[in-house]
């Protein structure tokens, strides 16, 4: 299901107009981002947990040129699926 289908489905179910839906999506994204930047994790009951994972800087070696590269540390958004949802898919 792509983004269009999801937005249309949610509008249909909640019976809201496109503007509100877009505003809600935007604000949710914004909130998620803020929480992540503050180092918090966001758990959604029955679905999973969003969290920002910090990755330390590391030395990688280019296999062809044998150059040693220092990759900078980074932070990425990770999602861990909840056990409930996982079980639903596996049964």
């Amino acid at each position: 299901m792509n983004t269009k289908e999801i937005t249309s489905e949610i509008r249909k179910r909640l019976q809201i107009d496109a503007e509100t839906a877009d505003a809600l999506f935007a604000s949710f994204t914004n909130c998620l981002k803020e929480e992540m930047l503050n180092g918090n994790s966001l758990s959604i009951p029955g679905f999973g947990i969003f969290e920002a994972r910090r990755k330390k800087e590391r030395i990688s070696i280019n296999p062809t040129t044998k150059q040693r590269l220092l990759s900078p540390p980074k932070q990425s958004l990770a999602f861990k699926v909840s056990a409930i949802l996982k079980d639903k898919f596996n049964n």
Partner: protein
């Protein structure tokens, strides 16, 4: 920080931002994830706008081992939910680190970058033409090759060796990274090549033996062995005649290697004797009267033409032509190499100290060489005597026919005359060599003098610019250069103890100069440290530590362990690695210790002088996970002040 927030906690914010009721926002989120769940069940994929893509991935069953009891087990096939964040969101979340870039490490760390250099060395040795620096010289070599083809037409392998060697050496000189290993390799090649070609030509053995070992006694032996190998006993005469030229070659090679890094001409010069040794055999057998003719022109003492005449009479017209070509070739070589060397020297200033001694070298060696020459005639006399003694034995055993012929053709009186003539010739040739040496030495001394002058100017300029960095950077490279020069001189002058001792004295000179440099560098550092032994951390760090970790007594001031000059491409983490046992975590301390210089952690530039705090065992224990955790915390704090 690091709170676990549930959906309820953010509902208010979402509602406020979107301008809707809290209930609607809650409904919205619940339905959203319901839909995603359904979509995943139905299609296996769901895309939430601006957030990312959820996907179901089927994982096949696989074998594994129970960690506790080691028994094998099978992880059954299952499905996994994967999430890939949208690019925009990903970048937003990585924003605190976005300014950091991947860069190439230049310092030597746990992984050796030197392996590259080693690899290059090997490739140079095996496929010398592949290296870009050798291209200049390849031309010279290729011009020489045809002339050698004419000489060596009967023997093909010597051409290979002679073409290879000239390429190695110039590349080494031109690349201006003279490492001892290279020299050793070179010597090994010199030693190896002749033995690989033993079967083909013993004359080449002579050449190489004299070329490598340069001990007259050895050349004697090798000559004799070659005589043994060759069945033509008459060749002994010619061989003994060619001995001086062999030694000519060897002497010239010595001078070339020692004073002038162009052994290109060596193989050519040393190849020449081959021709007479092979070709004239027939002529001698045919008529013994040729031999006096051979000797006579040599007695005529016109220095350069001497060898030409000599080879004319022996080798015939072809060798004459070749010889005319060769001196010119060698001259061009010298000029070309000097041309190429000088710009190189301009580029690499650190080599200068290594070359200072070399300018002195030729002068000292010219004197040594003259001594050598004086010694050699006596030895060569012994040589010829030995050779003839052996001759007689050989003529008795392997080739009775030739012996009979010879007895008829040559009587012992003639032999005695010849010996005398040879001795005379040897003596004259020695004189000629002397003049050659002195001439070469003077030319080379001039060249090195020019180089030295150029280097000196550049050094003066660069020294002003680089200041503290210069001595540190210079010392290792100059060491290498020095070693290389020492290696060349020692390799080529195994005989010349005096010259090697001269080289060592030069080395000592270099070392002392280096020490002076280092001392000056140390003085600078000590001057810094005496000004301020301690330095204060940034107030923000002190406040933070008070607030977050009141249990830790964090000192506001800390002793400066070291002044660190930032190298090109270095970042704080890299500096931490260099100063704290390859541990990157302590860069936060370095940042807060240098906030007077650094406005942000990413502001590190090459040439900066950073103070490295002496963290001690309490904070700077590189093996303690507590210390590292605290350091990471400080790093996080540091990242906020970008």
């Amino acid at each position: 920080m690091n709170e676990k927030k549930s959906l309820q906690d953010i509902l208010g914010n979402i509602a406020e931002e979107a301008g809707v009721t809290k209930k609607l926002s809650e409904n919205f989120l619940r339905t959203l994830f319901e839909i995603v769940e359904e979509a995943l069940n139905k299609d296996g994929i769901a895309k939430i706008p601006n957030i990312g893509t959820f996907k179901i991935i089927a994982i096949e069953e696989r074998k594994s081992v129970n960690v506790q009891d080691g028994s094998e087990m099978i992880i059954p096939a299952h499905k996994k939910v994967s999430f890939v964040p949208e690019k925009n969101l990903k970048e937003e979340i990585n924003k605190p680190y976005a300014h950091l870039e991947t860069y190439v490490l230049k310092d030597d760390g746990p992984v050796d970058t030197d392996t590259d250099d080693d690899f290059d060395d090997e490739s140079e040795d095996e496929t010398p033409i592949s290296s870009s620096s050798s291209t200049v010289f390849v031309n010279n070599v290729s011009t020489e090759v045809p002339s050698q083809d004419i000489i060596n037409t009967p023997i093909q392998e010597p051409i290979n060796t002679s073409t290879q060697e000239p390429i190695y050496t110039p590349t080494q000189e031109s690349s201006n990274t003279p490492v001892q290993e290279k020299r050793e390799l070179k010597v090994e090649e010199h030693i190896n090549t002749p033995y690989q070609e033993n079967n083909n030509s013993s004359a080449i053995d002579d050449k190489y033996a004299s070329y490598i070992q340069e001990i007259p006694l050895n050349t004697n032996n090798s000559n004799l062995s070659s005589n043994m190998a060759d069945e033509n006993t008459l060749q002994n005469n010619i061989e003994s005649n060619t001995n001086p030229t062999n030694e000519l070659g060897s002497n010239e090679t010595k001078s070339d290697i020692v004073e002038n890094p162009i052994p290109q001409s060596d193989p050519i010069v040393s190849n020449q004797p081959e021709v007479p040794s092979y070709e004239p055999v027939e002529t001698v057998i045919n008529s013994s009267s040729v031999e006096p003719v051979v000797n006579n022109p040599i007695v005529e003492p016109t220095t350069e033409t001497q060898t030409n005449n000599y080879n004319q009479t022996i080798g015939g017209e072809s060798s004459n032509n070749i010889q005319e070509e060769i001196p010119s070739a060698s001259q061009t070589d010298i000029s070309s190499t000097t041309e190429t060397q000088e710009p190189n020297v301009v580029e690499t200033t650190p080599e200068a100290p290594a070359q200072q001694p070399t300018s002195e070298e030729p002068q000292t060696q010219s004197a040594e060489n003259t001594q050598e020459k004086k010694e050699e005639p006596a030895e060569t006399k012994a040589e010829t005597a030995d050779a003839q003694g052996k001759e007689n034995k050989e003529t008795a055993v392997p080739a009775p026919k030739t012996k009979a012929e010879r007895l008829k053709e040559e009587k012992r009186q003639k032999k005695l005359k010849r010996q005398k003539e040879r001795e005379e010739m040897n003596a004259k040739s020695r004189k000629w060599i002397k003049w050659m040496f002195i001439g070469l030495a003077i030319v080379l001394a001039l060249l090195f003098g020019i180089k030295y002058a150029m280097d000196h100017n550049i050094l003066d300029n660069s020294a002003k610019e680089q200041k503290t960095e210069a001595p540190v950077a210079n010392t290792p490279t100059s060491n290498e250069g020095e070693k290389a020069t020492a290696a060349t001189s020692e390799n080529s002058d195994s005989v010349d103890e005096t010259s090697s001792s001269a080289a060592t004295t030069e080395n000592e000179d270099n070392l002392t100069s280096q020490e002076e440099n280092q001392e000056s560098a140390i003085d600078d550092n000590s001057a810094f440290s005496s000004d301020a032994d301690t330095h204060t951390f940034d107030q923000r760090l002190i406040d933070y530590m008070k607030k977050e970790h009141p249990e830790i007594k964090f000192p506001s001031k800390m002793k400066i362990r070291e002044e660190y000059v930032v190298k090109e491409g270095s970042r704080l983490a890299q500096i931490s690695r260099n100063n704290f046992d390859n541990v990157m975590n302590f860069w936060g301390y370095i940042y807060f210790f240098n906030t007077d210089v650094l406005s942000s952690p990413s502001e590190v530039r090459s040439g900066m002088t950073l103070k490295i705090p002496d963290l001690g065992n309490e904070f700077g224990n590189t093996k303690s996970s507590k210390c590292k955790a605290l350091a990471d915390e400080i790093n996080d704090l540091a990242l906020k002040f970008k």
